[in-house]
Symmetry: D2
């Protein structure tokens, strides 16, 4: 088998016996550890029974028999960056519980307001994360640590962590954050300071490369589905009602596609991966007009990054994280649909809903709660072994180690040939192409 | 006692024995009827034990011993008008069940798309409302009949109803709708056609005069509260975060005030009844700046009709119902707050949420479900006695008859001297005045 | 007007100006106070325009211009007793916020595990209730103070409170708790210790005399309604399915009746106030058999205190609060229904659900959150004026003072002649009597 | 690679071009089909990079380029059997939509009350499943078809289906149902009647062999988690409170384990796979007593099939499906815990909750909605190709074909060496063994 193994860096040999099985072991199930030689492949479909050429193998995450850091002399830090995402507090809580209860690490610092809190010049001292403080935080959304966008100097951050005695850093954030995490990992190496940097990828859009599913995505799809149901109700209640829902998805349509499948009431699902046209015989306006004639109502879901080529713009804006700010496709569509039908003297009632800020701050649902707990515990296991420069990801429902530099090389998008998109086409009945 | 009785018109004498106690009567509780001589006062507070001068007495709603219409020869029509409101389908369902099961009226027409469906020229024939059709509709939001804004010719509508043989009309809608209902009532009188017009007031804003509470309001407050909680989460998660939530309330702040009380997390509640200023030493911007300095975050709730005097505008727009269209105070505040802090180089993160369309289409919550059921059943009782030109309202938790012309004389607003607003001031700690 | 005023005891003259309007007063709405001369009548229906003979007037609750206790030298205590009820934490939180923010009372003791915590021999020292501690507690169910059943010696409790310097006690609990509160009030008088005892009635069953509605009831009805919906789903899915739901209601059927109205799917609602029979031509079994023949499924709701006369029992048990323990009518009905149909060889599938413990621990819904906040703030207002031996109650949507001894004289029950029960008969179509 | 391919029977050659891409094809993504040569392996972990010996490959599900049945001459039947499970109506709806919209099959029969409806002697004629009938059914729980337990004669059922002209049968049910489905498949072969039998496995317990996840499981875990949260609230509110929750799980602890992980509040999770003891130094009672001493409260989750060896019983009962009826471990534990502490004069308050019937009838959550839709659509694809004697299963998030006889050979259980159980041990901190 010629699959390539995704190489994970280690700070040194892991020689300390893990304190993990500290409680009584069931003699019939003595081994709570994962071996280093277990891997999960990126691609699992076999063609004529054969593996896919160029497959990649990821190390299976989990507790190891030997660890690198002495728990009694160790300290950890947790930092949350970027926009809110359901589950942040669950991850923080499980990191604290796992570090303490499973390994006995008690000094755990909560960094305030993202990477800003790692630069002492900004004046936000860390919060001490005790079990009492975190015990109920998973019941509320947001992050108790606060968050922010934008980088700080890696050297400054490493020195600050060294002064605190921190040897394990858990950055929770999107690809920008993990790029920053990688720089911290590199800066620590250069300074010769043994720091394990183990990231937990956070993107409500679910667009992290290689990873099947990120936390918060499920909660977002669930909330989005209920918004679509309400838009459907509004659309059905008036003559030629059009429910138009803009959902998160800067570069990928995973939330839009997932919510479309879950709702079963969407007629057009527009995502960044599939360009569409407004005008022309087979453009959205003509197709919508035809549907209203037959059915008197319609529901459209549009991801925020869809149809950007349609919007005239003067200049490109970026936010503090360096992400390109998108022109508002939702308002644009609302105006264009209204204008189109008005020009034809056909009555139309467009109900436009943009629920983004109502979704990001929700507490994690059940699925995401379980996912967050698993990600956090496996991050602790990885950090204790001295691994660094990686993130914990879910691949085919298995927790694995993925090198940070791999996931920051791009973003995952909805494959127009894949099962997700084919399901969307089947459920909506929308055209496969718009030209 | 010098209280005035609110006079209700009747089409004639009620001489037919009510079929109501058709099933076996419990000998110990033989009388299911309400007497005509029972009244509920508008004001109930006694000053030094005395009644309020100029008090008004409303007829208690409920089944009467004698009715006017012969159930077997009767037919009813139901029409829903204006914007969506949680509970419309509950009202439709309970009207149908009550007409059929309690009185034996089986011909019940559902008018399509508001008053438009009462003008045959528009081409929307009524829907027959069978028990099978309506049995599960209370579980979903919206209205199965469809709705619209805007009037039709009362004469045309009465003739259409007469042709259908309808002698009881139940218009469900706001003050515009009830004004239209009153015109239908007058037109029927003029034509000498015995038509009972019994309205059920619908306003999610809870701004119907005299009436303690309208259906949909409770569901809206509940939904709004959860939106505020999410805004609070967003505001707390960033440095100088401001959660700004715009809620429904064109002329009144009931939803904003109720959601503020329920949430317990709001710092400023801005409503149409209480003008506020942005600038000046005690204006909103100064007060907000002071709070951010101390607490680093804030939550603002603003009713859509608040602060209209602050917004420069060229002309006044009206919607199809004749309501003045408000300039968007939410976006205005967002811009002004952002500009203010930017001009002072203070970082600020405003999260603006406008959940209106997400709330109107919800199904009724428990409280509203019970309210809708009571309103509908009492509307049927009133119509069967030949009463006309009235609405059913809840006054001090009792169902009463209110003449239509009384409620269309104005709109109920939040009293700045009353308990509701005093509670809001206590819970938020916001200034009682802004100058 | 010959109505009697419900007399409220006061510890002495209120001479201290209230600190209430400490923030800037709006010159147009200068008076935040309620006058002592404002009353709310118990009965509001007017017969031929006349008041009801023997009506009772309750003092309107609210802030007074003069208070009795000097806030700076005052301390308060809060105690929660009896079973869980949604809203306990809301009441605790609002008491703390109101005492501090509105009056400046900062020493607030949280008594642990009910009255047991007022006897130092039990060894549960009070918890100091700071704003930080209580700020988020309204989001979770239960009571942060803990609760218990059963009394302690009033003399012991008063001495303990005196030693703590507490002059305002807020007991939150049912009629047993308020009876205990009254004994504390009397014992303090006898000891000459100026102690304001202001209770907040807590009964999920809504069975406090005179009071329209108690907190937790609305949340319970809402939860019960959803359980009924699931029972309906189970019943419809199988041949001759019977969904049988037992709800709380030891002596009264308010929850059963409210949930029946809200659900709209119940066929038989059985409550303690209306005795029913199983056997006989018009007994429940015969009526149910007839329905299954026609409809193949049925939904029954039974309050825990209903039909107790049907259950053979040997002895009467009481719980620690002295309440008679009821035999389980739910299991009894399940067995009898199953046996009846089996004896006739008719297939039947009874799905029995008892959700009590799943309901009591829920967080308060929106309506109850607002109610709890109002009850707590008005309790503080009353205590500050030196009033004692009363509870705060909601009567016709107005907050009033009710003497404790009035509400402990009995329990409120569902009137079989009233609107609530008539609505239940209309919605279910069940027989008015069972003989 | 020596992996074995799970062989799927076919009724004959698939020669008819699929009508699937009937709408306009996007020229860049022309192929909506899955090739027959694509497989998904049962085991995906690689040891030292090597495949697991004896691995099994399952055919990937999905639309094929050629089909066996001519859609215009085809008819389908859907039957739901066994206990309720969230998602049954979603599966029915998606089967109907997929058969009609994707293939043009319009004759679709809904079989009433499980296999009973396939025996004409029982007198339940099928329901015609039109798009109008099923369009909103996914919003409610249960099954519109009704369900039952127990078998019918396969020959009788096949003749009934043949008389109806049905050539595709979709049985939705657990392993008993799929065993019955396999007998129908065999009986049809013997009669020479070309009938595709494609099952959709239904088990809320998630215990179908080989399949990663069955529909309804996620919804059940979510509901169970909220019940645990309430039990936790009850336990914390009283001295030595013990929240005891019995969850579904006759032979497997998946629901108990999943809800334990999601809640994060469980101290002891008891499942059928891991025997436990009550008495002895390391038995549950001793461990619980020790915890109450330290923490004053505890939460226990027990799967219905756990600890059966502890319960003395006289005889073994079976239900109509032939499943062994379990003695009630929940009530047993409640009694034993209460007795233990009473015997030691330690106060204890056990709150026992059994929510099973409140969970089975819920509507499907978002995750399950998407899963049901995928299962149903892939079942249609499989049946149209003439495949028979299989079920559609989700393996590593891919839809696959699994031969019916494979899944009925046993039941999937929680591996005590696997990640799920290790996570439970980590989250609860409970002993790995009880001896």
């Amino acid at each position: 088998m010629d699959a390539r193994i995704a190489y994970i860096e280690r700070l040194g040999d892991a020689r300390i016996p893990s304190p993990l099985p500290s409680r009584d072991i069931d003699p019939e199930h003595p081994n709570p550890f994962v071996a280093d030689s277990h891997y999960i492949p990126l691609h699992i479909t076999r063609y004529e029974g054969l593996d896919r050429p160029g497959n990649v193998l990821f190390e299976k995450a989990g507790p190891r028999e030997k660890i690198f850091f002495d728990p009694e002399r160790s300290a950890a830090a947790v930092v949350t960056c970027g926009g809110l995402c359901p589950g942040l507090n669950n991850v923080i809580r499980s990191l604290v519980f796992s570090l303490r209860a499973q390994y006995g690490v008690t000094r755990i610092h909560g960094i305030r307001y993202g990477y800003h809190g790692l630069n002492p010049a900004n004046g936000f001292p860390p919060l001490e994360l005790s079990p009492e403080l975190v015990s109920d935080i998973h019941e509320v959304g947001g992050t108790i640590l606060g968050t922010s966008r934008g980088p700080e100097d890696p050297q400054v951050m490493v020195r600050f962590l060294r002064d605190l005695g921190v040897n394990m850093l858990f950055p929770i954030g999107g690809d920008g954050t993990q790029r920053g995490a990688h720089k911290i990992h590199v800066a620590a190496s250069e300074l010769g300071y043994p720091l394990s940097v183990v990231g937990i990828p956070k993107t409500i859009d679910n667009d992290i490369l290689y990873v099947s599913r990120t936390f918060g995505y499920g909660t977002a799809v669930n909330a989005a589905r209920h918004v679509i149901d309400v838009a459907h109700t509004e659309a059905r209640a008036v003559l030629n009602g059009v429910g138009l829902v803009k959902l998160m998805g800067r570069d990928s349509g995973f939330i839009a596609a997932g919510a479309t499948l879950a709702s079963g009431e969407v007629n057009y699902c527009l995502i960044p991966e599939q360009p569409f046209e407004l005008g022309g015989e087979r453009g959205l306006l003509a197709v919508l007009e035809e549907r209203l004639r037959r059915k008197r109502h319609a529901v459209i879901v549009v991801a925020e990054g869809a149809g950007q080529h349609l919007i005239p713009r003067d200049s490109v804006e970026k936010d503090a994280s360096g992400n390109i700010k998108h022109a508002d496709i939702g308002l644009f569509l609302k105006d264009r649909i209204t204008a189109h039908f008005r020009s034809k003297s056909i009555p139309v009632n467009v109900r436009y809903i943009d629920p983004s800020y109502m979704i990001r701050g929700l507490p994690a649902d059940t699925e995401d709660s379980i996912l967050c707990d698993g990600l956090a515990r496996n991050a602790v296991h990885a950090a204790m072994t001295g691994r660094s420069g990686l993130i914990i990801g879910l691949v085919h429902n298995r927790m694995v180690h993925v090198p940070s530099h791999m996931i920051t090389a791009g973003r995952k998008t909805v494959s127009l040939d894949g099962e997700l998109w084919k399901s969307v086409l089947a459920v909506t009945g929308q055209p496969a192409g718009w030209k």
